[in-house]
């Protein structure tokens, strides 16, 4: 299965995004990390082009609500609204209902264990090669 990991906006904290990328790869997934300072448009384009099974957004800069909403809307506009979106990073639990209401399928606040992240991502897009 293919996963796109992306950081949107100006927030440059990407230790977590890189660690997640590495550990998803070790779990057998094909992962692309787009790097910092991406726009919503560039992320959606990459998600569609690479036909990813899951799009993971990392946010530690407080922009998670604004950017996630824009990205999900753009995905829908471009006919890729069924791409599961997950969000991780520094965010308050108070924002989780709002993210879920936008259509976010899983939220991983800082301190989440990789075992949980891997399990959730597998559940969202069980590929044929994955042990279901």
């Amino acid at each position: 299965m293919r996963v796109l990991v992306a950081k949107v906006g100006l927030d440059g904290h990407d230790r977590g995004a890189k660690v997640v990328t590495q550990m998803l790869r070790e779990a057998g997934m094909e992962v692309t990390y787009l790097g910092i300072h991406q726009t919503c448009e560039a992320i959606v384009e990459a998600a569609i082009q690479e036909d990813v099974d899951v799009l993971g957004l990392s946010s530690l800069g407080g922009g998670h609500l604004v950017y996630t909403r824009t990205i999900i809307e753009l995905l829908r506009e471009k006919g890729a609204g069924d791409t599961p979106v997950v969000v991780g990073g520094t965010l308050p639990v108070e924002d989780i209902p709002a993210l879920e209401a936008m259509g976010v399928r899983a939220v991983f606040p800082a301190g989440s264990l990789m075992t949980d992240i891997v399990r959730e991502i597998r559940r969202l897009a069980p590929g044929p090669a994955d042990p279901a």
Binding site: L10, G12, K18, G61, G62, T90, P92, A110
Partner: protein, 552 residues
């Protein structure tokens, strides 16, 4: 291990590991023979004496308590000014300001890609007008101010701060504080693309040179060990990487023509206090000794103040987790205790909501109270270096210093820190460490309460509430900058930016800060001033490649 674990198993529970956080093996007991090699005068010395293992001041906190400051920045300059005043009312003894993501990148609040995040992760400051509002009613000639700022934006902030002081008629020589000014380490904070290595170092040295000549009470830069440690480095690596950063600036300042004893007395460090208590105390003591020896042996510094490792501490945000957030207050208290027992000059305590969002008034108040309880109730500051002479702590100090010295020598062998950064060696080390830390938690090799042990159901809300950016904040901040652009004297701005550009083109040894101060006074924006300097050095005017350079 989980919340509902077996009671008998719990009764017989033992320590998970006998290694320190950094992987140093320890024995159950340390005895005098562990320190047989130790020579008091050579290896420790009294506080205030070379090699300063026991502290940089003879009287330590009897002379003056550490500076209690809490990093602060959100929303507009007025919003942050109100919080700074609130902090002052709660009894902080110094201020510390951090800018937002747009500022870190050196763009303005009205940049098309900056609007959404203006004021979100720090204070939005785009011009001298904002700087004036930020310090409105705050006597900058009597308060110690730290700028928790490290990118190219440092020089813009210095320009605006000096302009503010001059406008207020404040003597620059009276300004007390610190600018972080560690542009090199910014490569590892996710802002490297906006702060090219050579240009960053050049502007860092501009600040060192200017402040050395004009602002004798100002610290010209903190090598940022803290941000490096946050990536996952261990204690010896933290010191080695941080001191190697500091060494790089010392070299560059000497190349600029400054004598080491002219500027080194006003250099400082910004360290982590992580969660392994004795290791952290030992680490900070080791750093003091290693720096003193390095400055004397490698740079021939003669002024004792050039040997002194003066440091602020930021408790380790990376050790804090959003699960059961109040637990973080406990972690922070232990970390601050380690910092003080190690003789820190200044401490920032993280708020318990650090891994959740920006601090609220309530969470920041608890962080301030944590420091005040430490200062005034526990009595730990009564005696200098109270852990000095502990067989265990001295052994750890020796081991961490030896480990750090090995890494520093390795960095020297590849040509120093700047070369090690450019070659990608440092990044590779940092990424390796980050991965290792996560694996340790996944495998249960390191216990983090609430994460891989003693878990509980996820909270529905954060105790004490969370900081929320008001809707429309970015638009309002952007509108204020557009208003400034429309109302300022355009001719004056153009002339000032042209002068800045010309000075910036004169070469590496030409200090651009004086021209930038004039540009700041002419109401040039941070984005314009830094864009001008970037373009003059052959880089993109706009680090994000969106805006063209303005016609001057």
């Amino acid at each position: 291990m989980d919340g509902a674990h077996d009671l008998e198993e719990a009764y017989f529970e033992r320590l998970k590991t006998s290694e320190t956080w950094s992987g140093i093996p320890t024995r159950p007991l340390y005895r005098p023979e562990d320190l047989r090699e130790l020579d008091y005068g050579r290896d420790l010395g009294d506080p205030g004496e070379y090699p300063y293992t026991r502290g940089v001041h003879r009287d330590m906190y009897r002379g003056r308590l550490w500076t209690r400051r809490e990093v602060c920045g959100f929303g507009s300059a007025r919003d942050t000014n109100a919080r700074l005043r609130f902090q002052i009312a709660q009894g902080v003894s110094g201020l510390s300001v951090i800018d937002d993501n747009a500022g870190s990148l050196g763009i303005d609040a009205d940049h098309p890609r900056g609007i959404a995040e203006a004021g979100v992760q720090g204070v939005s400051v785009s011009s001298l007008r904002d700087m004036e509002e930020l310090f409105d009613g705050i006597p900058i000639d009597r308060v110690s101010v730290a700028f928790d700022i490290s990118g190219l934006d440092c020089i813009a902030w210095m320009a605006m701060y000096v302009a503010l002081a001059e406008r207020r008629g404040v003597d620059l020589a009276s300004l007390r504080g610190t600018v972080q000014n560690d542009t090199l380490h910014f490569q590892f904070c996710g802002y490297g693309d906006s702060c090219p290595v050579d240009l960053g170092v050049k502007t860092s040295v501009d600040i060192i040179e200017f402040c050395t000549r004009r602002m004798p009470r100002w610290y010209t830069g903190n090598a940022n060990l803290y941000d490096m440690r946050e990536q996952g480095l261990d204690a010896s690596q933290e010191i080695a990487f941080g001191l190697s950063l500091a060494v790089a600036y010392v070299r560059k300042a000497i190349e600029r023509g400054l004598a080491v004893d002219e500027f080194a007395p006003r250099r400082a460090f910004y360290c982590s206090a992580h969660v392994d208590f004795f290791e952290e105390v030992a680490k900070l003591r080791a750093a003091r000794r290693l720096w003193a020896r390095w400055m004397r042996e490698h740079f021939g510094a003669r002024d004792p103040r050039s040997w002194q490792f003066r440091f602020g501490v930021h408790t380790a945000a990376v050790s804090l987790v959003p699960q059961q957030p109040l637990n973080n207050a406990i972690r922070v208290a232990y970390q601050a205790l380690a910092a003080v027992l190690a003789g820190a000059q200044s401490v920032h305590c993280c708020s318990y909501d650090e891994p959740i969002g920006l601090p609220t008034e309530a969470s920041q108040t608890l962080a301030i109270r944590t420091q005040q309880i430490l200062a005034h109730e526990t009595g730990v500051g009564r005696v200098a270096d109270p852990l000095g002479g502990s067989w265990y702590v001295e052994s750890l100090t020796d081991q961490i210093e030896a480990g750090a010295r090995r890494i520093m020598e390795e960095i020297e062998q590849v040509g120093g820190m700047i070369a090690a950064i450019k070659s990608g060696w440092v990044l590779a080390e940092v990424e390796k460490a980050a991965l290792r830390r996560q694996q340790e938690i996944e495998r249960g090799e390191k216990i983090v309460v609430g994460v891989n042990a003693f878990r509980a159901a996820r909270e529905k809300e954060t105790p004490g509430g969370v900081h929320v950016s008001p809707p429309g904040q970015g638009e309002a901040l952007a509108a204020a900058v557009r208003d400034l652009r429309a109302t300022r004297d355009r001719g004056r701005v153009s002339r000032a930016l042209r002068a800045l550009s010309e000075q910036a083109r004169l070469g590496e040894h030409e200090n651009v800060l004086p021209s930038m101060i004039e540009a700041a006074k002419a109401s040039a924006t941070v984005g314009e001033m830094l864009g001008t300097v970037r373009a003059a050095a052959g880089h993109l005017y706009d680090p994000l490649g969106v805006l063209p350079p303005p016609e001057l």
